[in-house]
Structure formats: structure tokens, C-alpha cells
Amino acid sequence: MSFSSIDRRWIFLFILLGVAIPLIIPIGFKLEVTSDVQKVYDLIQNVEEDKLALISFDYDPASKPELHPMGYAIIKHAIEKNHIIVCTALWPMGSQMADDIYHNLKAEMPELEYGKNFINLGYKAGGMVTIQAMGKDMRKVYPTDVSGKDINEYEILNCVKSLKSFAYVVSLSSGTPGLKDWIMIAKDKYGVPVLGGATAVSTPGFKPYLNDSNQLNGLLGGLKNAAEYEGLVKRKGTATAGMDAQSVAHLIIIGFILLGNIAFFMNYKKVKD
């Protein structure tokens, strides 16, 4: 059996074991905090108490392993700083993701209370156009919260008029509509600081927005950055637990790339000879 004729199911098995073993028997590699993650932390850390933060859940269960840990860590940080969390969603399942984080975090943080420092406004369709409408009149877009209760009944939302009422926006985004739309409207049109939590796939595409104009004020890209943020807010969660497996899997894939190249060049030499 040559390298090139290897059954791909062996590769599948290798990857499965490479990820599974470090999850069951952790190695404990250390993490370094990167500057883009630190920027997210610093911005939230420096916002005054009782300010409003808009967190948009623009993802579904497919990206949950990457973005959910970011959601936990950011909300924990914001609540510790006494910010008021207002959740929205540009993806229908995002609304349920926000509820899930609220219920799980509530067990750890009794100070987290719906209607007092946390509100889920739910899902709206329309992407960029809807964000632009929020920039003009938030109450027209969201006359009720996710449960159908009139938002005028929530005292903490009394001061909310438009996007400008928020100290910062965080978009946890796994595609379109998502972070890009928030940058274009919330930051570039209305001047509200925007922080991003993106899947690793889309992270390289957001790098140009981290410029001198601060189109994006900070970015968490993928599981590694989520783990770094967990470290900063001292809440070791699934991202930190997954980093050993991530490291081993990367090494295995690099190994496969090298093997594939060796196989190709051996075969190439044989054909040439």
C-alpha cells in the first residue's frame, strides 16, 4: 500500500483520535494573550458602570463551540463591570443561544437578573437594513422583547433611543448578516464602538478593519482567542478545555500535509525516472 492510495477513512480515524485523546487526558499547554483580545478586554474594562452594552448573537448551533465560550466570557466580564446587557440576534437561532448563556451563567452569577441587567430582544430579519433602522429608532424595530412583553415596561431600557444609546456593540458572528454589517452601520455610520467575536474561518477577512480608524475596536477570532478571553476573565470553560486537542489536531494535519507532499514527490520522481 502506497502513501497516495491510503483509504481516507484512516485519516478520519487519526483525526478523531487526535482530538479525542487530549480531551480525555489533557496535556496542559500554556496560552499567550494576543493584542486583539486584550483590546476587547480593555474596552469593556474601561466602560463606566450602568452603561448599556448591545450583544448581537449572529450565529447558530453550527458555530456554537467557537462562539458560545466568547459569549459566556464577554457577558461575565460585562456583568462584573455592572454593564446592562441587551441581546439581539440577526440569526433566528441566535436568540436561543442568548437564552442558553443567560440560564447557564445565572447559576454562577446570582447578580445576573432578567429585566434588571439582562434583556433578550430576540431575532429580526433584514441584516444591514435592520441595523440601520436600529440606528434611527431602536423601539420601532424592537417594540417587544423576545417574550412579547412591551419594552416600555422595562425601566432599564428607558434611555434607549437608538444604537447611539449603547456604550459598545459586540457581534458574535459566524457569517452574513453579522459583524461586517455591524462595522459598516454601527461604527462607520453611527460611531458606536464595535467589538467582534468571529469564527476562525472569517477572522482573516476582518483583519483590515483593525486599522487606525478603529473600524473594529477588538476581535476574538476562533477558539484560541476565546480561550485567551476565558483566561482574562478567570472563567475556564470549553474553549480552554479544547485547546490541547486543537494543538494536537493541528500537528496531525501538518503531518498529513508533509506526508502528502512526500508521497507526491516520490511519485513524481518515479514517473520522471
Binding site: A133, P204, H250, F256, I257
Partner: protein, 232 residues
């Protein structure tokens, strides 16, 4: 006539958006503000249309016994079960036609809609996308070959970024002295991401941006009509 009025509406809607940006006062601002809410509502109806279209396609497949029609029964059954439990007993935060589904909450802990979402749908979706991990490993082995200078560059930058983005990457080069700190894998990976990657991504971004501006203008001016069947 069928095409002229929609083209006029497109022109006016696009023009209003442009005018309101530069004259953010009445009446333009308030008209645009109303249009944006209409947009959201009509988008909602478009989602309903999408689901109806899926139903129609599945019904036809069953009716004409097309290939794999038996699986369409599964699609329809799961669709109607989820829809009915959602309409009758609502979702986690929203009441349904028959109230909050207290009987279910007392016995299974959550409403039926959320039970299906939490225990079936989430797992199916996550498992479906996790398949990509296996296929990308297989693709890396078979297709990631350094045949040319360009593909070698792609390969080298991918390997550095992959190593730099793991905890093992920083352990591998932690022995380097301070003077060679830039060769430390996370730093090297960061350099690639912040400079050459950024340059490439920015070129793509500006190019695509110019393309979108061009297409938007063509749509507003009625030159691009493929969305109504491409009739002149």
C-alpha cells in the same frame, strides 16, 4: 408594464437611500426610516415563502414518487411536528396558542419545541458541520502540494499560522533568545496575519467593494434586471 413599475420602485427606493444619506432631514429621513421597517417585515414574509417552497417541493416529490421520495416524508413529518408544537405551546420565551405548555414543562423540564431544539436539532447541526474537520484533514493530505512557488507560499503561511495559533506553537520556539523573538511562532503568525494577509485581504475587500458599488448602481439604474427574469 409588468417590469416597468418594479424597475421604477427599485430606482426610487435606491435613490431615496442615497438622498437620505446626504440630506438627513424630513421628509427623506422619515420616509427611509419607514422603508427600513417595511424591509424587515417583507423579509419576514420572504422567509415564510422559503419554507412554503420547501414544502411544495417535498409534496411534489412524494406525489410523483421521485427518487428518494420516502425521505421527503421524514422531512415533512419533522417539519409539521416542530411547527405544531411551536404554534400550540410556543418557544422558551414565547407563549403558544394553547398557553405556556405547563404540563410539558412539569414533566420534561422544557417546552416540546425547546426539547426538540436542544436535544435533536442542535446536535444534528453541530454534527453536520463537524464532518468538515474530517474532510479538511483528508483534503490537506491530498491537495495541499507544493507544486509551484505560489502553492509553496500558501503552504508555508498555512503551516506557520496553524502552529502559531495553538499552545504547542509557542512551546516549540520558546527556547529562542530575545534577539530572535520575531521568529517565535506566535509572533511570526501574527506578523503574517497583520501584514501580508491584511494586504491581500484589503486588496480583495477594495476590489469586491468596487464591484458591489458597480452592481448596486446597475440595479438602481435598471441596467441589471436578472432578478425579474432579465427582460429588456
Amino acid at each position: 408594464m409588468n417590469y416597468i413599475i418594479p424597475l421604477i420602485i427599485t430606482f426610487l427606493a435606491g435613490l431615496l437611500m442615497l438622498v437620505a444619506e446626504f440630506i438627513p432631514h424630513k421628509p427623506f429621513e422619515s420616509i427611509v426610516s419607514e422603508l427600513e421597517i417595511w424591509f424587515m417585515i417583507i423579509s419576514g414574509f420572504a422567509i415564510v415563502l422559503g419554507q412554503l417552497s420547501l414544502l411544495k417541493m417535498n409534496f411534489f416529490k412524494i406525489k410523483y414518487k421521485s427518487e428518494g421520495w420516502k425521505y421527503c416524508i421524514v422531512t415533512l413529518a419533522s417539519f409539521f411536528i416542530m411547527l405544531l408544537v411551536g404554534i400550540f405551546w410556543g418557544t422558551e420565551s414565547h407563549a403558544g396558542l394553547l398557553g405556556q405548555g405547563k404540563v410539558f414543562v412539569d414533566s420534561i423540564g422544557v417546552k416540546p419545541f425547546d426539547f426538540i431544539f436542544n436535544n435533536i436539532y442542535q446536535h444534528l447541526m453541530a454534527a453536520m458541520f463537524s464532518l468538515l474537520a474530517f474532510f479538511i484533514a483528508s483534503a490537506a493530505y491530498r491537495a495541499f502540494i507544493a507544486r509551484t512557488l505560489e502553492s509553496s507560499l500558501l503552504l508555508v503561511s498555512a503551516i506557520i499560522v496553524m502552529l502559531g495559533n495553538t499552545s504547542v506553537g509557542s512551546s516549540l520556539t520558546s527556547f529562542l533568545p530575545q534577539s530572535l523573538n520575531f521568529l517565535h511562532l506566535p509572533n511570526l503568525s501574527k506578523f503574517i496575519m497583520d501584514y501580508p494577509n491584511l494586504a491581500g485581504q484589503r486588496a480583495i475587500m477594495i476590489g469586491a467593494g468596487l464591484g458591489i458599488i458597480g452592481s448596486s448602481l446597475r440595479i438602481i439604474l435598471g441596467i441589471e434586471r436578472s432578478w425579474i427574469g432579465g427582460k429588456k
